[in-house]
């Protein structure tokens, strides 16, 4: 049986590898000017008044793929929450204060964390709302926002994180934002176009409000990614630091 499995694997890997190789050999040359895909994508992006061609590709030209990507993260967060939920025989430390973690943080780290916390949140929000005019967007900004919230943890501010992860608002935000993406697509259908077609006024190239539905989808994605990552990392933090932590006193 194992031999059969190995043989099947070899056949499968060889098949995929030869197909990939054939596809790679047929690709346009690296860095060729003008690039057949690049030229078309940029032209379409400019037609839609979206200065950041990457955002145009992701949220306009192939919004359906991005919807799938968004739900990958949504599903991952839901799965982690299910797997890492507190079981009936697990205890959660209530008394989690300076004694446990805050005291182990250097003053300098704490200071830098406090300074970086608002800056990171601001940068994250900027990256989300400027996705249509400059590099970034909902995914990148959302990840920065979620990292920013965990800077508070690195700075030793556990209560902030505790309050955050107990907020049902984060759960609700994730679900609402994930369905918001679908809602934008359905609005386009109600307007008589295809699902996720860019039906809003496009505005003027490089204006903050340009690109039609692209900024809207960026914001929705930004909220979804932030909420999903806060839930995801929050669950891991909870498991690593809080659950069962009552038994830990000598751990540094």
């Amino acid at each position: 049986m194992p031999r059969l499995r190995v043989a099947l694997t070899v056949v499968g890997v060889a098949g995929v590898a030869s197909l990939l190789l054939a596809a790679f050999l047929d690709l346009p040359d690296f860095g060729s000017v003008p690039h057949p895909y690049g030229a078309r994508a940029v032209e379409a992006a400019l037609d839609q008044q979206t200065a950041n061609a990457v955002s145009s590709v992701m949220f306009d030209q192939r919004g359906m793929d991005t919807l799938g990507e968004e739900f990958i993260l949504f599903t991952a967060a839901v799965g982690a929450m299910l797997l890492l939920r507190r079981l009936a025989d697990e205890t959660e430390a209530d008394r989690l204060d300076a004694h446990h973690l805050g005291a182990g943080v250097f003053e300098a780290v704490r200071l830098v964390g406090m300074l970086m916390f608002p800056i990171t949140l601001l940068v994250g929000a900027y990256v989300v709302v400027h996705g249509q005019v400059s590099p970034g967007g909902g995914f990148q900004g959302g990840v920065i926002l979620a990292s920013g919230l965990h800077v508070a943890y690195l700075a030793g501010d556990i209560p902030v994180l505790r309050r955050l992860r107990s907020l049902t608002a984060v759960d609700v935000a994730e679900a609402v934002a994930a369905s918001g993406f679908v809602a934008v697509g359905l609005v386009a259908m109600a307007a008589g176009s295809a699902f996720l077609e860019n039906v809003l006024p496009k505005g003027r190239l490089t204006d903050l409000l340009s690109g039609g539905t692209v900024p809207l989808l960026n914001v929705v994605t930004g909220v979804e990614v932030t909420a999903a990552l806060v839930l995801l990392v929050g669950k891991f933090l909870e498991q690593g630091l809080l659950t069962g932590a009552a038994h830990e006193d000598s751990d540094a």
């Binding site: 950041n52 990457v54 955002s55 009936a88 025989d89 697990e90 205890t91 430390a93 008394r95 990256v127 590099p135 970034g136 967007g137 995914f139 990148q140 990840v143 920065i144 979620a146 990292s147 965990h150 990552l229 995801l232 990392v233 891991f236 933090l237 498991q239 690593g240 630091l241 069962g244 009552a246 038994h247 830990e248 006193d249 751990d251």
Partner: protein
């Protein structure tokens, strides 16, 4: 950046990414590996930036050098504790 200088930077970053990837594989201690992984993620972000993919670079920096190493370290903390001391029954310990 002049084109020749950019070429040098691109090749240098590629070699560094390769070396860092090897470093990740050769690091056997998972905690150290998480740190090496973060450094590798940072270099990969620089590579994407030089290849004119700032959008991907941004996501790579945040996910590859912050979120993933953080989750790895937290998982190690949890599993190390579980293997060192099996979980007690509820209420058996007052603390």
């Amino acid at each position: 950046m002049s084109s020749a200088l950019l070429d040098v930077a691109m090749v240098a970053t590629m070699l560094l990414v390769g070396a860092a990837a090897l470093g990740v594989v050769l690091t056997s201690d998972p905690v150290r590996q998480a740190i090496v992984l973060a450094a590798y993620g940072l270099l990969l972000g620089v590579l994407f930036l030089l290849w004119q993919a700032p959008d991907v670079a941004m996501a790579q920096l945040a996910v590859g050098s912050v979120i993933v190493p953080l989750i790895v370290v937290l998982t190690i903390v949890t599993t190390a504790r579980e293997t060192r001391r099996p979980r007690d029954r509820p209420g058996s310990e007052g603390d």
